[in-house]
Symmetry: C2
Subunit: 321 residues, 2 copies
């Protein structure tokens, strides 16, 4: 069985649980708007990490399913609100939620997913102390995601962003949810605090690698594969580490922040970023984060699920989109 | 000591805890935006109800303070997002959050308060089972608030809204948070399920009365007292029960939904609503909800805090703004 099959084998239950735990009920349009992006797919990597972490410490998929759903809903909530804030009109190859239901509808669809996530997590059957710990992890994570998105938006107003500022932003905006997924899986599975912490670090590190590689993919993947306009980060003036590295090398990027740049101009900018070594720099840094993350799993006993978690780490920097 | 003094005596601790539990930290502007409306005042009725409910069943203010803060933050989160959605630019006599930090900033400030509320609630010192029950109450409540706001927005697109639809909207949008405040206070205070349920019903019923009276106040209170333009509901085409009642009586309201209506035209519409009895109808209905809510407190032993909860119920329909 391939990694994708192993993930699917588990996330098919996540999908069924979403149907169950977030039914399209009255008021129907609100729940349709809330479900729209969730149902549009996505790789379900976060719930997969959560489930595998639980299994790796001796628990079962069934006992952590609501938690896996909660983490996926939080992820989708952040996408919906981010797309409004970033004025990204296409997501997963489809119109963003705010394009279909308006900004007000999208704000509310996101808010609904947010509260549903906590509602569903509180419904896990487990020791109350453990569930409470998970609630604490998830709520702190959500706060950090907000901080990360704020930093990201703040970067747009600035002339210069440093590598360490970028790293803080990526850690908060993206990687903490992977950390939370792995840690919650561990905690609900009965892991010791030490193992739960190692799982959290695994998630954090591969999450950073994931986002760095995502920034690379945004520049080099054709639109029909990416599901959104390629190089959009560049034209939007987003400070990815690729751009930060290029700027500190003194490279000039005329298209940066120029929304009207043509496809040809963007292609040319990508070529420049290749030639100055910035794309390779970030790709290599992503690889080192992934390796560091994998090393954290030494805290786990050898088992097929540990192996799958290692494979997910590698997948982060080998996927095509 | 007057009721206001008794409330203040308690909420001064809520204010201090907010300073403590939601410090203005990095990234500073995000936390300033999150604190802005919270610090702008408000009557702190929800935390007061929560604290009094806990005290009435034998607990102390200190032991429920984080929960009281959590409920106040949820309230402010909903105000921030509602003001974006409803395009209300003034709140508590000051520019709304989105007027100062933009819509993206306000979305994020609200999201931050949302997660902070759950973070803070999970930090209450109490039996894990009880805290978990409160988490469940608060998250379900947040979901219902979203449903209520959706219904409210949906009404704007409709030609006709019935009394029962209005009641569902008000119950979800406003009264469930009063219900949650009273119930959480009771639960953390160690109340039986029966008493906690009675407290919840008290909150729900006085919350409905509160909102109905609020709709009355919106029409009859001068701008300098209300802190926002008087009659704005009417001009915005909001289906309050006053309007629903007038319409079913066949009254014509030419200013309804006409944002350009002058002050004189609005005054005249209010006069019509008085004369047709719709304002009295809603005011009397509000009174009956308040009385029903007060009766629920028969489940409590007599004590000074029960008396204060009864006074709060009366205050809901006697306040000037």
């Amino acid at each position: 069985m391939t990694l994708i099959d192993e993930i699917k084998k588990r996330t098919v239950h996540v999908d069924a649980s979403i149907e169950d735990m977030l039914p399209v009920t009255h008021p129907e349009e609100l729940y349709k708007a809330s479900r729209y992006l969730v149902d549009a797919g996505g790789k379900r990597l976060r719930p997969a990490v959560l489930i595998l972490a639980a299994e790796a410490v001796g628990s079962t998929l069934e006992s952590v399913l609501p938690a896996a759903v909660a983490v996926e809903l939080v992820h989708n909530f952040t996408l919906i609100h981010d797309d409004i804030m970033d004025k990204d009109d296409v997501r997963r190859g489809m119109p963003a939620v705010h394009m279909k239901w308006g900004e007000a509808g999208a704000i509310l669809a996101g808010d609904t997913l947010y509260s549903k996530a906590f509602e569903i997590l509180s419904r896990v059957e487990n020791e109350p102390e453990r569930i409470l710990k998970c609630m604490d992890v998830l709520s702190r994570t959500c706060t950090e995601i907000c901080e990360g998105q704020w930093l990201d938006m703040d970067f747009e107003r600035r002339d210069r962003v440093t590598e360490s500022e970028y790293l803080e932003m990526v850690e908060k905006k993206t990687s903490v949810l992977y950390a939370a997924a792995a840690k919650i899986g561990g905690l609900l599975g009965g892991a010791s605090d030490e193992v739960a912490e190692a799982l959290s670090e695994y998630g954090r590190l591969i999450g950073i690698g994931f986002q760095m590689y995502d920034d690379v993919l945004d520049m080099i993947t054709p639109q029909e594969v990416l599901g959104k306009v390629r190089g959009s980060d560049l034209k939007e003036g987003k400070y990815t580490l690729i751009v930060i590295d290029a700027f500190r090398k003194g490279v000039e990027l005329e298209v940066f922040g120029r929304g009207s740049a043509t496809q040809d101009e963007t292609e040319n900018a990508v070529k420049i970023l290749y030639e100055c070594g910035s794309i390779d720099f970030v790709q290599n840094l992503a690889i080192s984060y992934i390796e560091e993350g994998k090393a954290k799993l030494d805290a786990l006993e050898d088992c097929p699920e540990k192996d799958l978690l290692l494979q997910i780490a590698d997948y982060m920097i080998s996927r095509n989109y």
